[in-house]
């Protein structure tokens, strides 16, 4: 089966499974919204948000809810060991990685579609000022976070203490993504927007994505065989 056909088949199956219960979607969205609200109480003073708080809170919410979504997605595969069934199938194993990555991306981008307007409203942040650049930052950053996260979550499926180990492993490695995402977004949302700076951070994110997706594809099969 061709690489892309495999990816599409598995993605379709994952979406079908998720649509039946919508459990991960609803819980992740709710969690992201709660994150934003809880952090707001820390960073809004006298009704005025602290300078640059919007960008930071947005990306923290993405990181936290992303970790949750990753954990839940792979927990599902662990229940009937269906990940093993996929590894057993006559498909290119890296295609399974890509399929899982696409699934997580779709979920996170859906969550962001809700959280970004929320942040815009709560923090009076001009999210529509440069929509394409902001969207590009969000997509590139989410890909960066998800590509490392999917690999780590997949490899932890058979490990002990996997729930706490995923964030412990994931956050240090995705620090560049968070820094680039926050600073790029802040550059767009600040009083005097700096589109050039935002684009500079965007290029760092794209470079990160390329390198780490390549590394993940390369390393997925050896990591998943015992």
């Amino acid at each position: 089966m061709t690489f892309l056909a495999t990816v599409w088949l598995v993605v379709r199956k994952d979406l079908l499974v998720e649509l039946r219960s919508r459990e991960i979607l609803y819980t992740t969205v709710f969690f992201a919204v709660s994150c934003v609200l809880v952090f707001s109480f820390g960073f809004v003073r006298d009704g005025q948000p602290i300078d640059g708080a919007a960008a930071g809170i947005l990306w923290i919410a993405i990181a936290f809810s992303g970790t949750l979504a990753l954990g839940r997605t792979f927990e599902r595969e662990r229940q009937s060991e269906t990940l093993r069934a996929l590894l057993l199938a006559p498909v290119d194993r890296p295609a399974l990685y890509v399929a899982k990555l696409v699934g997580v991306l779709v979920l996170l981008l859906a969550v962001e579609a809700l959280v970004v307007p929320l942040v815009g409203i709560l923090f009076q942040a001009p999210v529509l000022r440069a929509p394409w650049t902001l969207a590009a930052l969000l997509v590139a950053g989410t890909i960066g976070f998800a590509c490392v996260g999917t690999l780590f979550a997949a490899m932890l499926v058979r490990a002990r203490s996997r729930d706490v180990l995923l964030p412990v492993l994931l956050y240090p490695v995705t620090v560049p993504v968070i820094i680039a995402g926050v600073r790029g977004t802040a550059a767009l949302l600040q009083a005097d927007p700096d589109a050039a700076m935002a684009r500079a951070w965007l290029s760092l994110l794209v470079f990160f994505d390329v390198i780490f997706i390549t590394l993940s594809l390369w390393v997925f099969e050896p990591l998943m065989t015992e």
Binding site: V168, P172, V173, P176, L215, V219, P222
Partner: protein, 230 residues
């Protein structure tokens, strides 16, 4: 008992010689440091620099060793590569800790604050955390975690340039006021001597640690062999 190359390896004189050399270098280092010229602005405090920077050298050597050895382990299943990966990570954590304690001590005495998000210190902190995560995974991840940790080691090392650039850009937007003075002429000799001393210490520790892991594997094999004989 069946002999499968089991037991203690035959004594080699390289290790004790290295140990003596390292001890001598480290013993002499404070003498050199005391004799080095005192830096004009920060006076005595600056001398922490002679241990602080070599500790970073060792930390990053350990981090890159872990990354490269992890990559080799993942693709060749070589147990030796895994031993070096583990050793590299432990070195990175231990010497990172040395750097992360000497750094703030120096900053506090020189500039009055413990931590100011200096680009290099922040980079070191993040890399340090990555390799602590590596060790946590090995310890708590259950069977097979050595393979998984290799993935983390590889990614952690590959991440270093990205962390470096992102933290640097992040910091240059808000330029720092404190400046690390460049090395005066009399200081260079002392500095490189301390680097040498730390490198010797690192080599010694790597040799000891890899040897320890090798013995652990041999012990496991002996257990298994003993089961056969029962």
């Amino acid at each position: 008992m069946r002999d499968q190359g089991s037991g203690i390896s035959s004594p080699s004189y390289a290790f004790p010689a290295l140990a003596v050399l390292t001890a001598a270098a480290l013993a002499y280092a404070p003498v050199m440091i005391a004799q080095a010229p005192v830096e004009s602005t920060m006076l005595l405090v600056q001398k922490i620099f002679y241990f602080h920077v070599p500790a970073w050298f060792v930390m990053f050597t350990g981090a890159f060793t872990c990354g490269i050895a992890s990559g080799i382990y993942l693709f060749t299943r070589s147990r030796n590569a895994d031993r070096y990966a583990l050793t590299g990570a432990e070195l990175a954590v231990v010497f990172g800790l040395i750097g992360l304690t000497t750094g703030p001590i120096w900053a506090r005495k020189a500039w009055g604050i413990w931590w100011d998000w200096d680009a290099k210190l922040t980079l070191a902190l993040i890399v340090w955390l990555t390799f602590i995560a590596y060790l946590l995974l090995r310890r708590y991840g259950g069977p097979g975690s050595d393979r998984l940790a290799a993935g983390v080691g590889l990614f952690g090392a590959a991440n270093i340039p990205f962390v470096y650039y992102s933290v640097n850009w992040w910091r240059t937007i808000h330029p720092k006021t404190s400046v690390v003075p460049s090395l005066g002429p009399g200081m260079r000799g002392t500095f490189w001597f301390c680097v040498l001393a730390f490198m010797l210490l690192m080599t010694l520790l790597v040799a000891a640690r890899v040897h320890l892991e090798r013995q652990r594997d041999r012990l496991d094999q002996l257990y298994l062999a003993a089961e056969d004989d029962l």
